[in-house]
Structures are given as structure tokens and as C-alpha cells.
């Protein structure tokens, strides 16, 4: 299954400027694993030492939050994922 992940908010840090990455998987977790395979350095930006998604990250599937069972959330062919960071500046 081909899923697109929009990583534009991370692109300058982890994906060498690539804003959309095509991944395979049937759950959000599998898609993120595939993303990490393609760009290993992104792992530290997404997961803590125990493999849990950082609490300041939100994953959206087709514009809707994947919360609460984020990693187990099923996805289907051509779904679009966005990775959003919590920010606090003002």
C-alpha cells in the first residue's frame, strides 16, 4: 500500500529537503517504521528511547487526528499522513 507522509515541517532537519515521502504500511506505526528505514535519523525526532512516539508529536491521517491509538490506526492505499509538532513560542 502506498501512503504519503508530509514531512515538510521536518524536511530541513531530517529528509534533505524532501517534503513528501512515500511509504508502505497498513497502520500508522508501520508507515512510520518505513519512514525511519528511508531516513534513519528521523527516528530520534519521532520516538523516545522506549520506542514510544514523543508526546509532543501529533499524527494526522487525511487531515484528522490519529489519536488515541495512534500507531495502531489503520491506513489504506493513498491515505495522506502529516506529522505535527507541538510548539509553544510567542
Amino acid at each position: 500500500m502506498s501512503i504519503e507522509i508530509d514531512v515538510s515541517l521536518l524536511s530541513h532537519q531530517y529528509t534533505k529537503g524532501q517534503q513528501v515521502v512515500e511509504v508502505n504500511g497498513s497502520t500508522v506505526g508501520q508507515c512510520l517504521d518505513d519512514l525511519v528505514k528511508q531516513f534513519p535519523s528521523i527516528k530520534q525526532g519521532l520516538f523516545d528511547g522506549n520506542g514510544k512516539l514523543h508526546s509532543y508529536i501529533g499524527i494526522y491521517v487525511n487531515g484528522e487526528s490519529a489519536y488515541p491509538e495512534v500507531l495502531a490506526k489503520p491506513v489504506k492505499d493513498r491515505d495522506k499522513l502529516h506529522i505535527i509538532f507541538l510548539i509553544g513560542g510567542g
Binding site: S8, Q19, Y56, I57, G58, G63, G89, G90
Partner: protein, 248 residues
């Protein structure tokens, strides 16, 4: 009732369809609480003053530093070392003498927030840290006051409008913690964009026109010049608004 001067001063917005003198009178009666006189607080307060809201209370505890001046446009070279509230008060008074303005030097905490926002119609989140945003979100819910969120980082910004008891709150969307940074990267125009969006939402809410940014998180990516919108829902287990619902 609007004066002759007010009718002339606000003419260009009064002639907007759906706005009218009635909308301007609503603005004139509104009392807006702005938390922060920094990067976001500057454009929010400037445009709400210019639009002719009735009263603004702006709260901040900092003094102006040289490194603030790339984005905090209320404060100028000559203000370095002054209290931000004094610098803000001076400029805002000169901008529009028809608006009542009150500037308070205070750190917003759980202990004082309810007292600070009491009797205000709207709360604008122009803070520079997440923990205080959570304090404001909770206070807005408890006091049943609409809350206008904004946040920035680098070229990025977020905005969302919260109507207590009706829409998702900030905590429904932001569940995690981030360590407050003493210095976060930011380009001056990013809070200008987000602050203007917050001010737009405030004006729309008061006047009662348009569609509010409720149950939607707006993300601004200035680097790629993209606005993206995400649907958000009330979290039934939200530690702020679900408790409130159970009290009702």
C-alpha cells in the same frame, strides 16, 4: 452609539457587508484580555486597538531586551530595559485614544489567572510558553470565556479558536509537554502572521460574522508558504474540558 469621529475612523470596516455600525458598536462594547506583550501580543493588541474594541487588558512580566526587537514591534530601541507593559501602554494609547487600555505587570499563574480574566469577554493567548497556555486554556473553560490560541516557532505558526462547552479545547489537541526554551528561534514576521489571524478571529467572534477557526487547527508553514488545516475533535478524556463537562 458611535460618535461622528468613530463613524469616520472605522468607516472602511463598517462598510464591509455584514459588519455595519452594529458590528462596530459590538466591538466598542467588548473587553479583551491579552496574555503577553511580546511577539504575538504586539500585532494582536495593535490591530484590536486600531479596530476599536472597547477595552484591552494586556499582561506581561518581562522587560524589553535588544533580542526582542526583531519581532516585538510594540517595543523599540529606546525601550530597552523598560517594562514591556509600560512600553506597550505608551504606544497603544497613542495609536487610538478611543480604546480603554490597562497594562498589568504580572506573571500569569493558576493562582491569579481567574482574577485576571474575570469580567473579560475574550482571552487571547499571546504567551511564549506552553505551561501558561494550559493555565489560560483551563481558566477560559472554567470562566466560559472564548479563547484564541496562537503559537510560533521559526517560520511556523499555529492558530485555533476555542469556544468553551462547544468546541475542542487546546488540551484536546496538545497533550504533551515540551520543555520551555529560554530562546526559541523565530522570524519576526511569523508572529505577525499568526497574531493577525488571532485578531481576525477575535473581531469575527465579537461582530458575529464569518466562520471561526473552531475544531480546526491551522498550521502556517512560512518556509514553504503553506497553510494547512487539520480537523480536531473534543477529546472525551481531555483533562481540561471533559472534567468541565462532568461538572455541568
Amino acid at each position: 452609539m458611535l460618535t461622528t469621529d468613530e463613524l469616520e475612523r472605522y468607516e472602511r470596516q463598517i462598510i464591509i457587508e455584514g459588519f455595519g455600525e452594529e458590528g462596530q458598536e459590538k466591538l466598542k462594547r467588548a473587553k479583551v484580555f491579552i496574555a503577553g506583550a511580546g511577539g504575538l501580543g504586539s500585532p494582536v493588541s495593535i490591530y484590536l486597538m486600531a479596530a476599536g474594541v472597547g477595552m484591552i487588558r494586556i499582561v506581561d512580566h518581562d522587560r524589553v531586551e535588544l533580542s526582542n526587537l526583531n519581532r516585538q514591534v510594540l517595543h523599540w530601541d529606546e525601550d530597552i530595559g523598560r517594562r514591556k507593559i509600560d512600553s506597550a501602554l505608551e504606544k497603544l494609547k497613542r495609536l487610538n485614544q478611543g480604546v480603554k487600555i490597562e497594562a498589568i505587570e504580572e506573571t500569569i499563574t493558576e493562582a491569579n489567572v481567574l482574577q485576571l480574566v474575570a469580567d473579560f469577554d475574550l482571552i487571547v493567548d499571546a504567551m511564549d510558553n506552553l505551561p501558561t497556555r494550559y493555565v489560560l486554556n483551563k481558566a477560559a473553560l472554567e470562566s466560559n470565556i472564548p479563547f484564541f490560541h496562537g503559537a510560533v516557532y521559526g517560520f511556523e505558526g499555529r492558530a485555533m479558536t476555542i469556544i468553551p462547552g462547544q468546541t475542542a479545547c487546546l488540551r484536546c489537541v496538545y497533550r504533551g509537554r515540551i520543555t520551555p526554551q529560554e530562546k526559541f528561534p523565530v522570524l519576526g514576521v511569523t508572529p505577525a502572521v499568526i497574531g493577525c489571524i488571532q485578531a481576525t478571529e477575535v473581531i469575527k467572534y465579537i461582530v458575529g460574522i464569518g466562520e471561526l477557526l473552531t475544531n480546526r487547527l491551522l498550521i502556517y508553514d512560512g518556509l514553504n508558504l503553506k497553510f494547512t488545516e487539520f480537523k480536531v475533535k473534543k477529546d472525551p478524556n481531555c483533562e481540561h474540558c471533559s472534567r468541565l463537562a462532568s461538572k455541568e
